[in-house]
């Protein structure tokens, strides 16, 4: 065999080739020799001398394929006229499917046989991929006249004759098949394969196209599928609606959705799966949203988790579908939360407040994780609801919100005298942080907490120093180090003081010195403790204490230079052994009371004036502490009221069953309510300073800023600590303008600039 171009008789060569082509298409057996010589035939025709006859071969092959398909088509003629429901229709589908299977198979071989023609003759004329994709001016005419590879040509002919003519009938049959699957669910696996195969033929027949290969599938089949499915879903929905409750309806819809998903994967092209799902959701969920929502409130308030879970599954895919559900949940949490902390009364309001609120929080957190898959939208609704409940003003008409105070008190209570075990306390503290995080006025909490911490530390009321540290660290985690800085310093001061006492005792031992009393001293850093500026309380220290104080001061000054100690006698306490009426008592009391009693060691009576002048106590302090001693019946007073001329005398007939007891200052100078108000005003002052500092900081870096931008910046900076009110910010801006830190710019009324 020669590869050289030679003169040939086209009809003879084509005659031979044609037989092979025929066999190939019918999937009959082809002898190896025939197959090989056919390759040569294609080649010789394409390179024929004097003129290549490729175009003629192409035309003849095209004609042959057309005829072949036309013959096939005729076999379907009977179906085109008759009514072909049920069995008959199925038959047609099977027949088409097997015809298509054979044809596409044969075509594949044929394409191989014509490879030379495809490669050498047709590829050369083909528009390049890039040109198709970017549509480089090629007119549709040019494309239609263009020659195609034989395989593609065959597919196109199939489309033109078979699908064009039978398409609508096929689609109708397919849809009937699918409907039967939906209603009766009795398709055999062969039926399923056929339907899938037929549908797939709509795709395969244009698969070779680079662009719009799904066009035929979409217009011929998909549109009708969606339409038919839509009306099926609609009728299904209305049927269900007549007989079902909301909860049953949701179960049914979920079942339908699942089935449809399986069905879609069974029959249709990937592209349609989503569209079909959407159609189903539209018809069965969106269209009946009002129905689904009709019992939503009740589901939430009765905690019907299964229903809620189903509702979530159904509404999640819809755009904004969950909005209403979230809103309903939010309202429910708000109401339940507000109810749980309303009308709290009695001694332990703080405990009830925190624990009730926690209960609500926990309940809904649990609900969200169990039924709503911890959806962030729901979690943020929970946060929003809790924050709004916790920061809302209590209904008793007071203007301030007490949450911060109550939570602080709750912690104080835990750390002071709870009988629970250490791990219990710790877990309760952790939970209190959950509530704490919702508080807007974190600075108020901080004030209260630090006052309570100070009291616990100074009066040795903490049940466990480790727990104190744990709690401070928890707060630090929640709000940052700035927030707990002072708390931490207070905590370390106590540790340092313990060391200091040990060193002092060692120091005394080294000097062979001894104190006549058992002394323990706490040394605090002035700036860190919320003790107020009470430095100048006048008091003449009794001589019993003078010596220890002097010794400690000299020890302290030798250890630390440049520090000045101030004694806070109103915070000190001690234990006295008092022998009275032949019995002795151990009495714990405050320093001022000790000093007063010590005066009576050697004399039995004295006038009030004398006592006060000796001790140099202020009027208030004197009255308060004297009264407590009188109340405890150790001292007697000869008048009803404490007056300068009144005579105080020792009660020589004093007797008490208990030999060990404690005297507390009876008249609390500050009632708790006053203390609270004082704390609030202090917080207000601190806030003003904080805001002013923030404004100056911002303006220093920005130089010029609009009013609104400045407000925004301030709000975002102060968010960690508290939520400042706009009037307060405005006041701060005014006062900074007065102090000439910033000024209004000349050309605009709502713009400020920094004054360097």
């Amino acid at each position: 065999m020669s590869l050289r171009p030679q003169k040939i008789e086209f009809d003879v060569v084509w005659g031979c080739l044609r037989q092979t082509v025929d066999k190939v298409l019918k999937l009959n057996r082809v002898e190896r020799d025939d197959w090989n010589s056919s390759f040569t035939d294609v080649y010789t025709i394409c390179v024929a001398f004097p003129e290549p006859l490729a175009d003629r071969l192409y035309a003849e092959t095209k004609l042959f394929l057309e005829n072949h398909v036309k013959v096939q088509l005729e076999e379907f003629n009977c179906y085109r006229t008759e009514n072909n429901d049920g069995e008959n229709g199925q038959m047609m589908l099977h027949k088409y499917y097997s015809a298509w299977k054979n044809y596409s198979q044969g075509l594949e071989y044929l394409n191989y046989l014509y490879q030379y023609l495809n490669q050498q003759h047709i590829k050369k004329q083909k528009v390049s991929e890039a040109e198709i994709l970017y549509g480089n001016g090629t007119t549709p005419l040019a494309i239609s006249q263009e020659q195609m590879e034989i395989g593609e040509l065959g597919l196109d002919i199939w489309r033109l004759f078979m699908i064009q003519n039978l398409g609508d009938i096929l689609v109708k049959q397919i849809l009937q098949g699918i409907e039967r699957d939906r209603l009766e669910n009795n398709l055999t696996s062969k039926d399923i394969e056929t339907i899938h195969g037929v549908i797939n033929s709509f795709v395969s027949v244009q698969d070779y196209k680079k662009k719009g290969s799904l066009h035929l599938y979409e217009t011929l089949f998909e549109e009708k599928l969606l339409e038919a499915s839509g009306s099926y879903f609609m009728s299904q929905a209305s049927k269900l609606l007549q007989s079902c409750s909301v909860s049953q309806y949701m179960q049914e819809v979920i079942r339908v959705l699942d089935e449809e998903n399986v069905r879609a994967h069974k029959f249709v092209h990937m592209n349609s799966v989503k569209k079909l799902k959407k159609e189903c959701e539209d018809r069965m969920i969106s269209d009946h949203k009002a129905f689904l929502y009709s019992e939503c409130k009740e589901m939430v308030s009765n905690d019907k988790r299964d229903d809620l879970r189903n509702l979530y599954i159904l509404l999640k895919p819809l755009q904004d579908g969950l909005k209403e559900l979230i809103q309903i949940l939010l309202e429910q949490i708000k109401n339940e939360g507000a109810e749980s902390i309303m009308n709290l009364k009695g001694e332990n309001v703080h405990i009830q407040f925190v624990e009730n609120m926690l209960q609500v929080h926990q309940k809904y957190e649990n609900l969200i994780s169990e039924t709503f898959k911890n959806d962030p939208l729901f979690l943020s609704a929970l946060d929003k609801a809790c924050a709004s409940v916790i920061n809302s003003k209590l209904s008793d008409g007071k203007t301030t919100c007490r949450s911060a105070e109550l939570v602080a008190k709750y912690c104080d209570n835990l750390l002071k005298k709870s009988k629970s075990t250490e791990s219990e306390i710790e877990s309760k503290l952790s939970k209190s942080i959950t509530i704490f995080k919702y508080i807007e006025d974190k600075d108020v909490y901080q004030k209260f907490y630090s006052r309570m911490l100070a009291k616990r530390l100074i009066h040795d009321q903490s049940i466990n120093m480790e727990l104190e540290e744990v709690m401070i660290n928890k707060l630090k985690q929640a709000c940052g180090y700035e927030f707990t800085n002072k708390l931490h310093r207070m905590y370390t001061d106590i540790g340092i003081s313990v060391d200091l006492n040990n060193k002092f005792n060692q120091h005394l031992k080294n000097l062979n010195d001894e104190l006549n009393i058992n002394l323990s001293i706490k040394v605090l850093q002035a700036g860190a403790w919320p003790l107020g500026p009470q430095t100048n309380i006048s008091f003449a220290v009794p001589q019993e204490f003078e010596q220890p104080i002097r010794k400690f001061e000299s020890f302290y000054n030798s250890s630390f230079s440049g520090r000045k100690l101030t004694w806070l006698h109103h915070l000190c306490a001690g234990e006295l052994k008092v022998s009275l009426a032949k019995k002795s008592y151990l009495i714990t009391m405050q320093t001022y009371q000790m000093a007063m009693l010590l005066l009576f060691e050697n004399c039995d009576s004295m006038s009030c004036k004398e006592v006060r002048e000796m001790l140099q106590l202020s009027h208030d302090n004197f009255q308060k502490h004297l009264q407590s001693l009188i109340d405890s019946k150790i001292l007697n007073l000869d008048t009803e009221k404490i007056e300068d001329a009144s005579i105080i005398s020792v009660n020589l007939e004093f007797s008490n069953k208990r030999t060990k007891f404690k005297i507390t200052a009876s008249l609390q100078k500050e009632s708790p309510q006053q203390e609270v108000e004082q704390t609030i005003t202090q917080v207000d002052e601190d806030r003003k300073l904080y805001l002013q500092a923030a404004i100056v900081r911002i303006m220093k870096s920005r130089k010029v800023l609009k009013h609104n931008a400045l407000i925004q910046e301030i709000l975002s900076q102060s968010k960690v600590c508290f939520a400042p009110s706009i009037p307060m910010i405005k006041k701060c801006i005014e006062s900074l303008i007065d102090k000439q830190y910033i000024e209004r710019t000349a050309n605009s009324s709502d713009e400020y600039s920094y004054v360097a």
Binding site: L519, A528, F560, G562, G574
Partner: protein, 85 residues
């Protein structure tokens, strides 16, 4: 009446002995730390000069390190000498 003091728990606070409220270099209050520190007190101590001026130790050291020739007190321009007391 016979009385014996068994024990006494006393509380005192300390402040720096300084002729000013604030550090002349960083303008922070002495009872707070310098801008580079996070804890006041022993972690951020004060130092006294012979000229009687007081600063955060960190602040004056930074100042002295930034001076090329002479070590002067930033307040009174006298030669800075630490007063160890």
């Amino acid at each position: 009446m016979k009385i014996k003091v068994k024990s006494w728990t006393s509380v005192a606070w300390w402040k720096w002995i300084a002729n000013d409220e604030n550090c002349g270099i960083c303008r922070m209050a002495f009872e707070n730390c310098c801008p580079d520190c996070s804890f006041a007190g022993d972690d951020c101590p004060l130092v006294w000069g012979h000229c009687s001026h007081v600063f955060h130790m960190h602040c004056i050291c930074k100042w002295l390190n930034s001076q090329l020739n002479q070590q002067l007190c930033p307040m009174c321009r006298q030669t800075w000498r630490f007063n160890d007391r």
